[in-house]
Subunit: 332 residues, 2 copies
């Protein structure tokens, strides 16, 4: 059989397969999102940038989508989950460190006096991070995070923390990837903390996670190389740091960004500044019943200036209560 016949058959097969494709495309994407202007704004953007011949068409290599994590992909109340991990870790390690009972930063925490701990401010927080996030190899730390994820439970939902993720956003991650986007997490959270679990939960591989970083040291231990996590912060991927983190790790300006707080403000501005079609989205926590309602006055996930700019520039604002028919995967 001559090669040309193979091509003829291929073209024929593809032509006949066409109706199947259309049927698949007609399945409603993003089922946990209610129909309305928000869902429509996402789908319309994706269709515009992926339709060849459209004025807004973007080549797949440039389809970079960035997502904040805390409060955008998973919940962040009553306290940032990584901070809870650190608190739990202090308690778990305390028996081996009797000296911590004399440490002004750690003592109130061990006594369950959260108000007293918080009075210690950033210094106390730094101390907690140093004793829980340093002094082990990167492989050991990954193991510690993995075990915590398997055992710790969120106080309100009584589920593992990595189950307290937003179902609509997981659908959105899949939808973006199905449309040729490369999805990145760009979070203030620690990059080593996130990479221990995000691939399984979000389908985002470690090399597409941008986050805050501590110092590290390369060492040969009995001839075997290890990376040791040291106390001391090297890079904070929050606020002004987010565009810098994006530039450093990704090196392209995203065309799609989703956040939920003022910590994401500069990331959204940076995304909006590029040429061509752009999508900027904010998750607004408006659902006190199914989750929490907070914005301008919250200590965690404060959303104030970014909300003003989003309204002014007509960025997409998700009203969680109204726009999401399902919040968590564990809901019936």
């Amino acid at each position: 059989m001559k090669p040309v016949n193979v091509y003829v058959l291929c073209v024929l097969a593809l032509t006949l397969a066409w109706p199947l494709d259309i049927a698949r495309a007609m399945e409603e994407p993003l089922p946990s999102w209610n129909n309305g202007p928000v869902k429509k704004s996402i789908i319309s953007f994706v269709e515009r940038v992926t339709t060849e011949g459209s004025a807004d068409f973007v080549w797949p290599s440039e389809r970079i989508a960035v997502f904040d994590n805390d409060g955008t992909l998973w919940a962040e109340q009553p306290v940032y989950f990584q901070l809870q991990f650190a608190f739990d870790r202090v308690k778990a390690l305390a028996p081996k460190h009797p000296e911590w009972n004399k440490n002004p930063a750690l003592k109130p925490l061990l006594a369950g006096n959260m108000k007293g701990f918080l009075a210690g401010g950033e210094k106390a927080l730094g101390e907690v991070m140093a004793v829980t996030h340093a002094g082990m190899t990167t492989a050991e730390f990954k193991q510690i995070v993995t075990e915590w994820m398997m055992t710790a439970k969120h106080p309100r939902f009584q589920k593992a923390y990595n189950e307290v993720v937003y179902q609509p956003m997981i659908e959105l991650l899949h939808y973006m990837r199905a449309n040729g986007f490369k999805t990145f997490i760009v979070s203030g959270g620690g990059v080593e903390f996130m990479r221990a679990w995000v691939e399984k939960v979000y389908g985002v591989p470690p090399e597409q996670v941008v986050g805050s970083m501590g110092k590290q040291k390369f060492e040969l231990r009995n001839g075997k190389p290890v990376l040791v996590k040291l106390p001391g912060v090297d890079f904070i991927n929050d606020k002004d740091g987010k565009p810098i983190g994006i530039q450093r790790f990704i090196g392209r300006v995203p065309i799609f960004a989703f956040g939920n707080s003022d910590g994401d403000h500069q990331m959204l501005q940076w995304t909006a500044a590029g040429p061509g079609a752009r999508f900027m989205g904010l998750v607004h926590h408006t659902d006190a019943e199914r989750e929490w309602a907070y914005d301008r006055k919250s200590h965690i996930g404060k959303l104030d200036k970014a909300l003003d700019e989003a309204v002014e520039r007509r960025w997409t604002i998700v009203d969680m209560k109204q726009d999401w028919n399902r919040l968590f995967p564990f809901e019936p």
Copy 2:
């Protein structure tokens, strides 16, 4: 026509196309590599980790391959190309900076006195980097690098610097990607300098380039966000820094690594330390006729301790003169 018939036709078409695929696969890969143990070691490794059912099989998501740049993917003599860029830039900017003629670091350089400049050591080098790599936005810097690439010529080959790249390594990058590997550059060079041109030349997208980094600042200029490159180094991705850079940017241990100097030693050790099948390769510059011959005593691309360990642990060592039948794409 019923859907089942579409499948029948598809299967039929694919079956008939099979011989074409086989013919393509039988084309010898890596044509610029001479047949011999080195080429064989690469192909045998790739076949082992990509054959399902093989004891050494590795899932595509874990197929991370890292490549040094200077001296591994492109040449690095008579002086690192990025340094030449900095020198050229000092000369280009000098007319606007009469004060540089009084600057002890820059004066010898402007007078063409390279020995005098080198006597200034790291301090003088830092000064050159500060005045050429800072004080502009990231977008402006990209433009400057792009223009230099289009105009500057390598002194020996009289070609643009990004043509003085190793044809066998470009074939290797393609071959690895064709086998499901994600290829990363992990270089001591500046990440912003490389990203300006590597995608076109190597097919490596910006988000897969790990390198040294300077400080940056996010700024709104008339409401438009920019990232400004500041003087001061933030991270040196060389020697001990390479495993740290890999951990930070990629977050997985590579299974395949190629370097050419002691600056790549720890990256090779780190790659070798992981479980399962591993490939560690060194380009040994042995070809004074077509390029340069240097190793243990060279100031640029010194290869000494890594060479000893490579011999001892039977890592793959490319003898450039013997193993490569073609060095540069511009050769006839």
